[in-house]
């Protein structure tokens, strides 16, 4: 692995509607990745994940995902996680439908990163 610290968030899907959610510092779940708690230490990340797994009544399938710090909070790194912050590309459904603002703010940068070839 590279020598920069990996910054993680705990993410999952909402139990009822399946929408992507992230764990906040006060142990609640948010639909806005920027409000997620960022964890920079592997042990802490594992223990947060363990806690998340222990409230199965709210979410489904929690896992750790890498993020980086952006101006407004956590930002996804991998394109799969980027898609989870907005919804599908063929219809304006999912998060981009509920809060177009979320999309607008990160759209430009996302496009740039998804399309970087070589």
């Amino acid at each position: 692995m590279s020598n920069h610290t990996t910054i993680m968030v705990v993410t999952a899907n909402d139990l009822i509607d399946g929408d992507a959610v992230w764990l906040t510092p006060d142990k609640d779940w948010t639909r806005d990745i920027r409000k997620a708690e960022t964890i920079e230490n592997e042990r802490a990340a594992q223990s947060r994940l363990g806690e998340a797994e222990s409230h199965p009544g709210k979410v489904i399938g929690p896992y750790l995902a890498e993020v980086r710090h952006g101006p407004a909070g956590a930002e996804p790194v991998h394109f799969r996680e980027i898609f989870r912050t907005r919804g599908p590309s063929n219809y304006p459904h999912g998060k981009q439908e509920i809060d177009p603002g979320v999309e607008a703010e990160i759209e430009a940068e996302i496009e740039e990163r998804i399309c970087v070839s070589v």
Binding site: L15, I16, R80, N90, S117
Partner: protein, 556 residues
Amino acid sequence: MYRYNDFDNAFVRERIRQFRAQVQRRIVGNLTEDEFKPLRLMNGLYLQLHAYMLRVAIPYGTLNAQKMRQLALIATRWDKGYGHFTTRQNIQYNWPKLSDVPDILEDLAVVQMHAIQTSGNTIRNVTADHFAGAAADEIEDPRPYAELIRQWSTDHPEFQFLPRKFKIAVTGSPHDRAVTRAHDIGLRMVRNGAGETGFEVIIGGGLGRTPIMGKVLRGFLPARDLLPYLEAIVSVYNLLGRRDNKYKARIKITVREHGIEAIRQRVETDFVLRRNSFAGADQALLNDIQNSFRPPVFIDAPVNSFDVARKNDPDFDMWVKTNLTGHKHPGYAIVTISLKTPGGTPGDATAQQMQVMAELAERNGHDELRVSHEQNIILPHIHKSHVPDVYNALHAVGLATANIGLVSDIIACPGMDYCALATARSIPIAQEIAARINELKLERDIGPLKIKISGCINACGHHHLGHIGILGLDRAGVENYQITLGGEATENAQLGERAGPGFAAREIVPAIERLIHAYLARRKNPSETFLETYRRLGLEPFKVALYGEGRTRHAA
């Protein structure tokens, strides 16, 4: 169409009742996800990227107007107003809420539909030729056999925990439109020397991580022996199939590891024992089923209006050329409705479009509809005098795209826009290719060319069988697309060859365009298809078109 008997009805209702209680217990926290997951999967409920997804079985792709209307109603009442028709002839809803799913299943049960065995390591929904019962080249309608298999496999106690999922496809025509060689079991109806109907039984086909074309296990199986023989195959597989490694668990690997000869011996031995225990009950059942698949009462009427419309309306004529197929009854045609509108999502239909298709089936189509594995909808029995009306009604709701079998009639799996297993997106690639082809105005000139796109190695988009196949991968955190060439999904089914290193998302459409231009430049004459040119010339000239002369190009 087959109608549920009391047993079927009671069974489906009971399953919904159980599932409603299970969902309730999950929501209040009495069931963990680990406990609940196999239960929801048994009922077709998956978790995807942004939401749950409900996969509804459409047995052998056959629907009537009432069912199609109900699918439309469910799309409106419980989802976002559309549904996605899949390469397994099913429909998927992309946005159901967990708490609503039992009600959705109730709505399905009203029209004798369900989502059972659309997931899990069981015998999945049986698929069949989408032109069944209408095709001019057909020996016999394969759907009664498909229905027999459905009834036999549904909740079959011996086969609820197979090593892996199990897919069966049936065709009644020598022209294989059901891709029988790419299934765990493929059944191709044939006649023996005495003129009796039977099946060529193919096993061990499949795409995915290890694509293999099926092998013939039995050249002629008398139709009456179908169930005991199938049961013998699945039973041998159940015993021999590997449970230690999910990637080696499909029957194609069992066949590879043991050899077709050893499998054949075991199956034949087991078959003899099983045949006796069937004692004719299956034949009585088949008889009943066959009665519910009687051909419609076809009409005889003049077809002048059809011919006149073709002369007067060039758009209609163009659509007729691509979207109509010969029917076994004179004066009739099989109409394929393209769900591949340029710019649209392959396989998607809105609730309104579903309503219109239902209406047309009822009014002009002997109440029959089919879903094709190529993600289109078929009206199998339209009298030619009704075709102009059908066309106009389709046109009014954006369903008159004239592109069946052409470049923009692309198969694309949901990919990373929906699917949790995906490694890249497929839908936007399909959309961009279709848009580009539309701009170039070359589609008609190019002629038959099948592009198939999968968003991961699982190959739901059948990319190995595309004349041009595209596989989306994740290469170091960037979407990357690999091209295969020369695949074919017919009775001459063949796996495509990998062309070379993959392309980044923004490079893939230009790469496809270069392939098309290479074909146009090299074909012998306009009637030589892309595939024929490829077969004649091989990979090399297309490789040069993709990567340049003598250059080894490195992937993104």
